[in-house]
């Protein structure tokens, strides 16, 4: 039995297989409409995340399976003080696979240690968000035709943004990737990421202004400055509008550059960019469903 805690849990060869399956689902959804008949997905969300939860629920429903779960900690037994270890033991009796989001880092790993069903980390605090990473990788591979040989800019909250950390960890396994980190001083990537890049001799650059690097990017990954990651309102208000992508910045970019965003966006990408063919963040959400379908099939060993 396998779990998914980090994008690194799968080798690049296994990821290729997963993405081939996701592309197959995209082309022939009817072939998979009953692949999970009789199976149950539990979505255990200890903090609200409508988007990720609905993506998982859509994925399982499109595979013919059913979904149970809770959407925030207040409606779970955690509000009565039950531990994650105990909850997953119970969920294991009710479902065949579990997607867990938790505000505390490492909670899904604790669950996986006690679980008798596959556990998918659907986001744990500021730590990892592997299914978002799989979504990002599938989007890049499907729309660029390759995973490697590009310069990717990551912009916004690079300190607390778990999607960013997961994506970097996943991309370093591919050849010839250069990172450009665009963030205010207060929200720079953590040292363990830059330490790892230095160790692996992977080129990276840290800059303050988005405009100065736009022409060199093959991809731009925008992120939201999340209010819940700040300890006080003042810091949030000061930083949230720091980096806004608009049409004039897009004019500086390559014609085939892709703009990705894990969504939801607040105002870091102005709506005038939405109609630009390089803006692929809504397509990305669609790929999120395909990759979660492929993941559920793979973890339930129903991929073929």
């Amino acid at each position: 039995m396998r779990h998914l805690m980090s994008p690194l849990d799968f080798t690049t060869e296994e990821l290729d297989k997963l993405f081939d399956l996701a592309n197959d689902i995209e082309k022939n959804p009817e072939h998979f409409a009953h692949a999970c008949d009789g199976k149950i997905l539990a979505t255990c969300f200890y903090e609200p995340s409508t988007r990720t939860r609905l993506s998982f629920e859509s994925a399982m429903t499109r595979l013919g399976g059913r979904v149970i779960g809770f959407a925030d900690a207040a409606s779970s037994s955690a509000s009565k003080g039950e531990s994650v270890s105990d909850t997953i033991r119970i969920i294991s009796c009710y479902a065949d696979i579990c997607a867990m989001r938790h505000p505390k880092e490492g909670a899904p790993m604790v669950a996986s240690e006690k679980s008798t069903i596959p556990v998918i980390n659907a986001g744990d605090g500021g730590h990892q968000h592997p299914t978002q990473t799989l979504t990002d990788l599938l989007t890049i591979r499907s729309l660029k035709g390759r995973l490697g040989n590009f310069t990717i800019g990551l912009c916004g909250d690079l300190k607390f943004g778990r999607t960013v950390h997961s994506l970097i960890n996943a991309l370093v396994r591919y050849d010839n990737i250069r990172f450009v980190f665009i963030s205010p001083e207060e929200l720079k990537v953590p040292d363990y990421i830059t330490d790892m890049l230095k160790d692996r001799k992977i080129p990276y650059e840290e800059v303050i202004r988005l405009e100065q690097v736009m022409p060199e990017l093959d991809m731009l990954y925008m992120t939201r400055v999340q209010k819940e990651r700040f300890f006080n309102e003042e810091d949030y208000v000061r930083l949230k509008d720091f980096y806004i992508l608009n049409a004039s910045k897009m004019a500086l970019a390559k014609q085939d550059m892709l703009v990705l965003h894990p969504l939801p966006r607040v105002n870091e990408i102005s709506v005038e960019v939405d109609d630009d063919p390089r803006a692929v963040y809504f397509k990305q959400a669609q790929y999120g469903v395909y990759v979660r379908m492929a993941l559920i099939l793979t973890l339930l060993e129903k991929e073929r």
């Binding site: 531990s83 994650v84 270890s85 938790h102 505000p103 505390k104 880092e105 490492g106 909670a107 790993m109 604790v110 744990d124 605090g125 500021g126 730590h127 040292d191 363990y192 330490d195 160790d199």
Partner: protein
């Protein structure tokens, strides 16, 4: 010079950085063992100017010294049997440390699930970096448990 009697069986931990002997006393959980312990602070040392020494009289299989490397590589562990040094132990960084150091990341699951063990793994042997198994927070210096 202060004299402490000779051990028959046990350990002498020599070349402890001056002032760290009590950290090691607690790290090895000597406070929980019913054995004779001599803590020598600020002993004169040719090599280190000042050093601490711990002498522990106990069965030589009783203590696990792997975690000592976490604090200081340069500590010398002399194993004593029948009043003689029978072995000088090399300190090696343990691959994993359980319930010796605590994760201080307030966002880590170990901060709310009380019964969870605090497990750190050796993430980088060369740089001697340990990270929490659950949240990957870097261990930043021993502060006791």
């Amino acid at each position: 010079m202060l004299n402490v009697g000779k051990l028959e069986e046990g350990f002498v931990l020599d070349h402890i950085k001056a002032g760290r002997s009590l950290d090691i006393y607690y790290l090895l959980q000597l406070d929980k063992l019913d054995c004779t312990v001599a803590i020598i602070k600020n002993a004169r040392s040719n090599k280190m100017d000042k050093k601490d020494i711990l002498k522990v009289e106990c069965d030589i299989n009783m203590l696990n010294f792997d975690v000592l490397a976490l604090i200081d590589h340069s500590i010398t562990v002399n194993v004593i049997k029948n009043g003689e040094i029978v072995e000088k132990k090399e300190l090696a960084l343990p691959k994993q440390i359980k319930n010796v150091i605590k994760c201080h990341n307030p966002r880590c699951i170990t901060s709310i699930e009380q019964e969870l063990p605090h497990i750190f793994y050796l993430a980088d042997t060369q740089k001697e970096i340990y990270r929490c198994k659950y949240c990957e927070e870097k261990y930043s210096g021993y502060s006791g448990s």
